[in-house]
């Protein structure tokens, strides 16, 4: 996808996003002690990780997947199942979920990168729908009920995650580690080649890069990290349900990245926090000008944000901020 000129790719930009991340981590560490609801933050962090994973593919690889919910949801199911039914320890369950979504990434990526652009989006959407129907029918997912009351367990056998803050700090560690990993990938030679392929694929190929291989690796990494997000989410909420594999979820993650800023390392985090925040505000209902908007309006508002972003706000929040500073420096 044509990113609007992205100054983030400069060294200044990358330092700025590292600084933003450091600030955010500090804020996250103190947040529960100043009255911010940890469950909200954990939810936002899981989605932020999901969005960052997605951005690796869209923002740097230029590949729009419309089926990323399949990785989030499947990893959630696997993690919940092995933790609850097989009694695996928490860290092993999360790894199992991540491993399954990685394997799915290999297969789906192999199929999807055979076509480009719009076809790529439609293929990923169709395969995700297939996974959704599988999740509806397979007995171990418990259909509409989902896998409920998944035990949080003991992390490494010593840290009791059923204690609220222990879980919260674990999620922070997972999120920050994954974000740093993505950051490292983006600014590695691999990430640079990936961007080169996105900008001009024939040219990258003529320089001797095997474009398909780079795209496939990006797809697998993205699927794996989306799976990590899904597995973590299943442990945090002790639930794996159909919502996480259904197509609206695939659309939502696209919006998080678009809203926060495609092709920026910090943008997806911002986008995820805005959307999760919006949803939690609407859950209790908001009254604007005498009209009460409840959770049933979430899809409509999400759709409206989509339309506005595409028509007038294509750089996203972080992209606009970066562009503002880039203009001032000149």
């Amino acid at each position: 996808m044509d990113a609007p000129a992205s100054p983030i790719a400069t060294r200044n930009g990358s330092k700025a996003s590292l600084a933003a991340m450091a600030l955010m981590t500090a804020a996250l560490l103190v947040a529960p002690h100043v009255g911010v609801y940890p469950v909200f933050l954990m939810k936002a962090l899981c989605f932020a990780l999901f969005a960052c994973a997605f951005n690796l593919l869209l923002g740097y690889g230029g590949l729009l997947s419309f089926g990323h919910a399949m990785f989030l949801g499947s990893a959630g199911y696997v993690c919940a199942h092995v933790a609850k039914v097989w009694g695996w320890p928490t860290e092993a369950a999360i790894l199992a979920g991540t491993a399954v979504s990685t394997a799915m990434g290999v297969v789906v990526g192999f199929l999807a990168i055979r076509r480009q652009g719009i076809y790529f989006a439609m293929i990923t959407l169709a395969i995700a729908q297939m996974v959704f129907f599988f999740a509806v029918q397979a007995p171990f997912t418990h259909g509409e009920d989902g896998i409920q009351s998944v035990p949080r367990g003991m992390l490494f056998g010593v840290i009791d995650l059923s204690h609220g803050l222990a879980m919260y700090y674990t999620v922070i560690v997972i999120f920050v580690a994954a974000w740093l990993f993505i950051y490292r990938v983006v600014y590695s030679p691999f990430g640079q080649v990936l961007k080169a392929i996105k900008e001009n694929e024939p040219r990258a190929i003529s320089l001797g890069y095997d474009a398909d291989r780079y795209k496939l690796v990006a797809f697998i990494l993205s699927a794996a990290l989306a799976g990590l997000a899904g597995a973590t989410k299943a442990i945090v909420f002790q639930l794996a349900s159909l919502t996480d594999v259904d197509w609206p979820m695939s659309g939502e993650v696209v919006l998080m990245v678009l809203l926060g800023g495609m092709g920026t390392t910090f943008g997806p985090v911002v986008g995820a926090f805005i959307l999760v925040g919006l949803e939690s505000v609407l859950t209790s209902g908001v009254t604007i000008a005498g009209i009460t908007l409840g959770p049933e309006w979430v899809p409509v508002i999400t759709g409206a944000i989509f339309v506005i972003c595409v028509l007038a706000f294509r750089r996203g929040v972080v992209g606009e901020v970066a562009a503002f500073f880039a203009r001032r420096r000149r």
Partner: protein
């Protein structure tokens, strides 16, 4: 045997809708290079418009067939002029995202007004009853839907492949700038093409109303299958889109009879197989 033919008929009916919807998608994609994600929502709008005309104004099915496509098509023209027209210079994927957002809005608003459960559309008396063919019972309305969709599909194919207007359209698909240089008003053609594609979706919606329940989710459920149909057929050819639509409907129907567990996924499995052996689709060309 009865059950087999029954499933075949259902497959043929579903196929008729797949064909009409993928036809509209292919026509729009050909000229605008946009995958119209709102297509399912516009199909749903068609069904709801027809339902509301009957329930609120007492306007029957026959008039709906005429009025609804025009009204919803005009809505499509407005969407194209006010929103899509701003995106042609950008990556095609923005069109997909915009139409996805619009689909969410339309679906959400209708869900909030009408609830997510379906409303039945009362069939006009002309269509009650059916024919006993000996090996199966054929309800009149189902026969009408299959026949009518065949006529529509053939009509669209004829206009695009065999008339002068269609030749402009095909030429603009290949090279819009050149066609414009010859004095054809391409932007207007683009607008009308989008309106036409939308009208086709709405018409399919009117025809679907008496068969399926009129529900806000009806479009979302079918559009993803139609995307798979489009990937399988490839968007290079109009005839290919029609043929693939009908064929996959029938395949789905047969699966429902022989192995019902796989009936909701069979089309996606076919898609995967086609992607492995013919990545450009059965009738497609790489573009």
């Amino acid at each position: 045997m009865q059950a087999l033919f029954g499933q075949l008929l259902i497959g043929l009916i579903n196929g008729a809708f797949y064909a009409m919807l993928s036809l509209g998608l292919a026509v729009i994609f050909g000229l605008l290079n946009i995958i119209n994600f709102t297509h399912g929502a516009q199909y749903m709008l068609g069904a709801f418009a027809s339902y509301l005309l009957l329930e609120k104004l007492g306007i029957g099915y026959g008039w709906s067939l005429l009025i609804v496509p025009i009204v919803i098509g005009a809505l499509g023209v407005i969407i194209e002029r006010t929103m899509l027209a701003r995106l042609y210079k950008l990556d095609h994927l923005y069109g997909l995202l915009l139409t996805f957002g619009l689909a969410l809005i339309l679906q959400g608003v209708f869900t909030n007004i009408f609830g997510s459960s379906g409303q039945p559309y009362r069939l006009p008396d002309v269509f009650s009853g059916g024919y006993n063919l000996g090996f199966m019972y054929l309800p009149k309305y189902r026969a009408w839907v299959v026949l009518m969709s065949l006529v529509i599909c053939f009509g669209v194919w004829y206009v695009i492949e065999r008339t002068k207007l269609g030749s402009y359209l095909r030429a603009a698909t290949e090279n819009a700038a050149l066609v414009q240089a010859f004095g054809v008003d391409v932007p207007r053609m683009v607008t009308l093409t989008y309106g036409f594609g939308v009208a086709l979706a709405a018409l399919a919606g009117v025809m679907a109303a008496p068969i399926y329940q009129v529900a806000p989710q009806m479009g979302a459920n079918i559009i993803i299958v139609v995307f798979a149909v489009v990937v399988i057929g490839g968007m290079g050819s109009i005839a290919g889109a029609i043929l693939t639509g009908f064929a996959l409907g029938v395949i789905e129907g047969l699966t429902k009879y022989f192995y019902p567990e796989a009936s909701s996924t069979v089309i996606f499995v076919v898609m995967v197989i086609v992607l492995i052996f013919r990545p450009a689709g059965l009738f497609g060309r790489e573009r």
